[in-house]
Amino acid sequence: MKNSLLYQRLLNNMSNISELFLTKIVNGIKKRDFTSEEVTKTFINNSQNSKKLNVYISECFDDALKSAKSFDKKKDYNGLLSGVPIAVKDLFCTKNVKTTAGSKILHNFIPTYESTVTSNLWSKGAFLLGKLNCDEFAMGSSNETSFFGNVVNPYGKQLVPGGSSGGSASALAAELTPATIGTDTGGSIRQPASFTGTVGLKPTYGRCSRWGIVAFASSLDQAGPMTKNVEDCALLLQAMSGYDPKDSTSVDVKVDNYTSKLTENVKGLKIGIPKEYIVDNMPAEIDNLWKQGIDYLKDAGAIIKNISLPHTMYALPAYYIVAPAEASSNLARYDGVKYGHRAKGKNLIEMYENTRSEGFGDEVKRRILIGTYVLSSGYYDAYYLKAQKVRQLIKNDFDKVFSDVDAILTPSTPSSAFKIGDKTDDPVSMYLNDIFTVPVNLSGLPAISVPAGYDENNLPLGLQIIGKAFDEQTILNLSLAIEKRANFKKNFKVWWS
């Protein structure tokens, strides 16, 4: 096949296409600067050389190449994502492609159906490149709970990429996929985005359909885009969002044209700085980053306001009751009867016990136990019901401040990426990673993490912007304003290939 001119120019350095932003790739294909096949080959090539990162659970390279070739023949450039290969978190059910949720219990599960969100991507011209590693059932903040092994952060051999969408974050940062999608229940998109210097957005609850996504905690789960810059994020969000009658919690609110409305002009927007997000033992560099972010937004003409979200301190405990409660029930279906792993047993009960003992990892078991406990008769009121009340108070906090501000700026995480194994024996310190992200899920609001700087070890740090319900546009615009000013550039060399 005759290679296009730009591709010829790029041939000496295969990864150059892959360095391009999603938007550029879509435009490049549209303008015939390169073909979908050329793009796909580049990402496949990068992916094949990425074994040390352990990001893939399933590779769909052959099919992706076929899709690319057929795309190039059809030349239908009308989709938002025309001709783009995309690898996705292995929590999205993909038709005829193994979907494991990072768990042994689904290690052999091949869905006969496609999740609504991935369908949305494919209907806009993208196709599947592979399924990306994640914490088991999305329960984790370091991608260390995956049955398929931990994922490595491109920023360092010893570093976790965050979680649970760790495979997605690493794959994106390492340029194995032009963009990706993850899911966020308590921070699972934003925290890994922060740890890998990428952009991750958790949309408003109900913005994206949950249909066909392996459920962790139904009232909190939300799919979202993970990209290399804000513009890509706007594009991917636009492509994946939309009302779905198959998901009763999906909301029928018009999806904005985020890309065309994207602007760094945030003049006059009021930005809240919540005092409760100044936590004990927060590293100075996080504090500095936050201040830096405030300066960026001031510079962009935004008005900074000090606000209070008084119930913030109760968010994490409430989250670690609500999420496990729902999970304990959501995961009951993995019983060895219908699909997935089945262990032998003398009778039904023993089969259940053996299947679930073998099939689930420790963190998942821990959360099933917590969830079962907090829903038990006699404890329900003290835990689950109380947590729901706290949840309402946290929501009320946000409602109140949003009558006064347009968005809220906080750090994304209380630290940069930590070392593999550092927190595996200390679940509470692991859970503390989600301290800034969890209140957002409890309130159903949209929030984005945008890379804004480095710590003293040259590890990326992100800022979080929380928006009003269904006002993804404002947080995208604010992120763009930060992005332009932070001028964040990846600063690692490819060490894994």
């Binding site: 459920a215 029930s329 279906r333 009867v337 038990s376 329900y380």
Partner: protein, 488 residues
């Protein structure tokens, strides 16, 4: 009519015991598709052919409420004169079983769709109100089949996710007979409404029965036992009788009743313990986060209320008032929708009282003999009506009508046709009849003399003879008249 008195008590060694019964009836909603999926609900399909990804709980599958099932349940609630809750919530009831694919049943726990209502029973000893505590919607489970293979159990998920209404009564029932009346009345209401087919053989209607006993005169309820999943009225009655006696025996021997769940063993006619209170499942109910709270607008309820068909109680009142039927007759006619439909079809053409008699006496005898329901009747309402009409018009005698009725059972022919073909038309020509009468009298001169000298009982004999000669076709009224004149 003297009213019977209620007399169901267990006679223990030291006194009479009253039996307190409450029912949780599970009624399958009449709907083409399931409560949260579009799979068919048709009974009797090949195993696992009516199962969607939602019903089999595949990863990432989500329930979507079937609006029709909601409307059916609201209608049922209205039929029970109950409060419809504008806000209700679906909860998850968590437990593991092979035929429960989700590992939880979606049900309603704290906020059911329908609140308190009532059902009126016409007992032989008077009218009885049975309180309804609530009606909630839930998913049915699949079926486990244990008797096909010695080592394995099989699961059929066709029923998984089918909508059930759980109708919980207050502990207002006091005898197996009241339970019989209650279940029948409930079933009748739902069949009038078209919200449940009430087919107990196919499991569309089953019940958990709560039984406790107390000394007559006591005001406090005793400890109850729940007998699970009884699927016929007869079994409910047997189970209650047995369970009540068992409880009385325990209490009279000075022991206490353990609150527990029991099963009714049909073959042995006993109940046995299934699980104790301590072993009771902790279902860990919590609101299903996949479903938003169900909010209804009053407009929908008003609309459904307007569309409600006439229900058995209203129909009964109308039959008594407008059709001049006795309460007893009206009750029988409205007891099943199909019977009242049959009756109302008949009376388009014929006399109401006669129609009632023919249905409740002649037709019911035939149906009972052949173990048929009225919808399976070998004789259509139209043809029976035309038969009755021929009697009123004097075309055939009651006696001939019975013969024709016999023939109609074999082939549901228009009785007019039968009468014509068989030449059974009543002889009502006075001249013809006079001839026969004179013939009979001349043959029985001796009896005529006896009659005229005072033995008036012989009148019947003459009538009989005339009928014989006319092969039963003579119009009996005319015969009477003519005889009276000729014998003067």
């Amino acid at each position: 009519m003297a009213e019977k008195k209620f007399d169901y008590f267990i006679n223990g060694e030291n006194g009479k015991w009253e039996v307190i019964i409450g029912l949780e009836v599970h009624a399958q909603v009449l709907s083409k598709s399931k409560l949260f999926s579009s799979s068919s609900t048709k009974f009797g399909a090949e195993p696992n052919t009516q199962v969607s990804l939602v019903d089999s709980a595949f990863p990432g599958m989500l329930p979507v409420i079937n609006q029709f099932c909601i409307e059916q349940s609201i209608k049922t609630g209205l039929g029970l004169k109950a409060i419809i809750n504008l806000n209700s919530v679906f909860d998850r009831k968590n437990y593991f079983y092979a035929d429960l694919p989700q590992g939880y049943q979606i049900s309603q726990y704290k906020k059911p769709l329908v609140g308190e209502g009532e059902v009126i029973l016409d007992m032989p000893y008077g009218t009885k109100k049975v309180g309804i505590e609530r009606l909630h919607l839930e998913q049915d489970a699949g079926k486990s089949i244990h008797d096909i293979d010695p080592d394995n159990s099989f699961v059929d998920l066709n029923r998984s996710g089918v909508a059930l209404m759980e109708i919980v009564s207050k502990p207002d029932l006091r005898s197996p007979e009241e339970v019989n009346f209650y279940v029948k009345k409930l079933r009748s209401i739902m069949r009038y409404l078209g919200t449940c087919d009430g087919n107990m053989q196919e499991g569309s209607l089953r019940a958990d029965v709560n039984v406790s006993v107390r000394k007559v005169g006591d005001s406090q309820y005793g400890t109850r036992c729940e007998i699970k999943n009884v699927n016929s009225i007869k079994f409910m009655q047997m189970a209650i009788e047995h369970e009540a006696k068992r409880q009385v025996e325990i209490l009279e021997s000075g022991k206490k009743i353990d609150q527990e769940t029991r099963l009714f063993d049909v073959k042995k006619n006993t109940t046995r313990s299934m699980r104790s209170k301590e072993e009771a499942h902790d279902y860990r109910y919590f609101p299903d986060p996949d479903l938003l709270p169900l909010k209804l607008n009053k407009g929908l309820i008003d609309k459904l209320k307007k569309e409600l068909p006439e229900l058995p109680d209203q129909k009964k009142d109308r039959f008594i008032k407008d059709h001049n039927l006795s309460p007893y007759e009206a009750n029988i006619l409205v007891s099943e929708k199909e019977i009242s439909d049959y009756y109302e079809e008949m009376i388009k053409e014929c006399d109401k009282k006669l129609a009632t008699n023919w249905i409740t006496v002649e037709l019911f005898a035939v149906l009972n003999k052949n173990n048929l329901s009225i919808s399976q009747s070998p004789i259509s309402a139209k043809n029976l009506s035309s038969l009755v009409k021929m009697i009123t018009l004097g075309k055939i005698s009651g006696k001939i009508a019975k013969d024709v009725f016999e023939k109609m059972q074999v082939s549901d022919k228009d009785p007019k046709q039968i009468v014509e073909e068989e030449g059974l038309v009543q002889q009502s020509d006075p001249k013809e009849l006079e001839k026969i009468v004179l013939e009979v009298l001349s043959k029985n001169q001796d009896k005529v003399i006896q009659y005229q000298s005072g033995k008036v009982k012989l009148f019947g004999y003459f009538v009989g003879e005339v009928m014989k000669v006319s092969k039963g076709k003579a119009n009996p009224n005319l015969v009477n008249d003519i005889l009276k004149i000729k014998l003067k």
